[in-house]
């Protein structure tokens, strides 16, 4: 389905994940974050940068990896993206829904 975000039509899945990472922009990310009730700060963007890097390098994400990234620890990750950090951060990052169980 299509959704207008940051003034452009963006293709998203039913759960609101971007279908095409190339359609992502920081404005789109911020709008998704707002939907999740998150106001983006520098701290948030650092995590998003890291997640997008991992995605570009085709590394599957886990909470453990984020915790070891040096960008943020697990407690901080949960504090920045409350209620499902890996899913929310992935959605804001414009990457597909994570398939990891850990």
């Amino acid at each position: 389905m299509e959704k207008t975000m940051a003034g452009t039509a963006i293709r998203v899945t039913e759960e609101g994940y971007l279908e095409d990472f190339n359609q992502w922009s920081a404005e789109v990310g911020a709008e998704i974050a707002a939907e999740e009730g998150i106001t983006m700060t520098d701290e948030h963007w650092k995590v998003i940068d890291y997640i997008q890097d991992q995605y570009k390098n085709e590394v599957p994400l886990t909470i453990r990896k984020v915790g070891k990234s040096g960008v943020i620890d697990i407690k901080g990750f949960y504090a920045l993206f409350p209620g499902g950090p890996l899913k929310k951060a992935s959605r804001i990052s414009g990457i597909p829904k994570p398939v990891s169980c850990i």
Binding site: I74, Y78, I102
Partner: protein, 170 residues
């Protein structure tokens, strides 16, 4: 003759959401401990509250001197696909455990000590069962520092009042 119309399911029921899972860990075999840890962690990843209650042999998973030495059960487990007599030979448990740990590392599943730290950092509350501690002569200092506290069964149930709370026994 009139054809019967398919009965449409009425949507009268409110969508039952899971708000909290409370998992009772009663065994210390590696496979059971991991099952409960992954369920507890997976709940937090979905924004669901989760708590672990360690009782009986499950206490070994949070006993400082024991938690790094948990083993896979090789006897009485048909899914191991080795004869039970062989599974009982010295060293078999250790061997099967090493093999399993190798596979888990490939999937980025952390070892028990690190997993406990992740659970705590993720907001999973971990409790020890008072009666089982008395039975095994354990004191709080023997258990991990991240432990929330020691509970009776009654205390544990009292934490399960909220709507959408589910209890699991592993």
């Amino acid at each position: 003759m009139e054809l019967l119309q398919p009965v449409k399911e009425e949507k009268t029921k409110k969508e039952a959401k899971i708000n909290k899972v409370m998992i009772i860990v009663s065994k210390a075999t590696l496979e059971n401990v991991y099952a409960s840890f992954i369920l507890a962690n997976g709940a937090r990843m979905e924004g669901i509250e989760s708590e672990l209650f360690f009782t009986f042999f499950g206490l070994e998973a949070i006993t400082k001197s024991k938690l790094e030495h948990l083993h896979v059960a090789t006897v009485g487990n048909p899914a191991m696909h080795i004869p039970t007599m062989l599974g009982g030979l010295p060293g078999m448990e250790a061997f099967a455990t090493t093999m399993m740990k190798k596979e888990m590392e490939k999937l980025d599943i952390p070892p028990v000590d690190e997993f406990l730290e992740i659970l705590s950092a993720s907001g999973v509350k971990m409790w020890a069962c008072k009666l089982a501690m008395d039975m095994f002569h354990l004191e709080e200092k023997d258990l991990i520092d991240d432990l929330e506290g020691v509970l009776t069964v009654g205390d544990f149930y009292n934490r399960a009042h909220g709507e959408g709370t589910h209890l699991m026994f592993i």
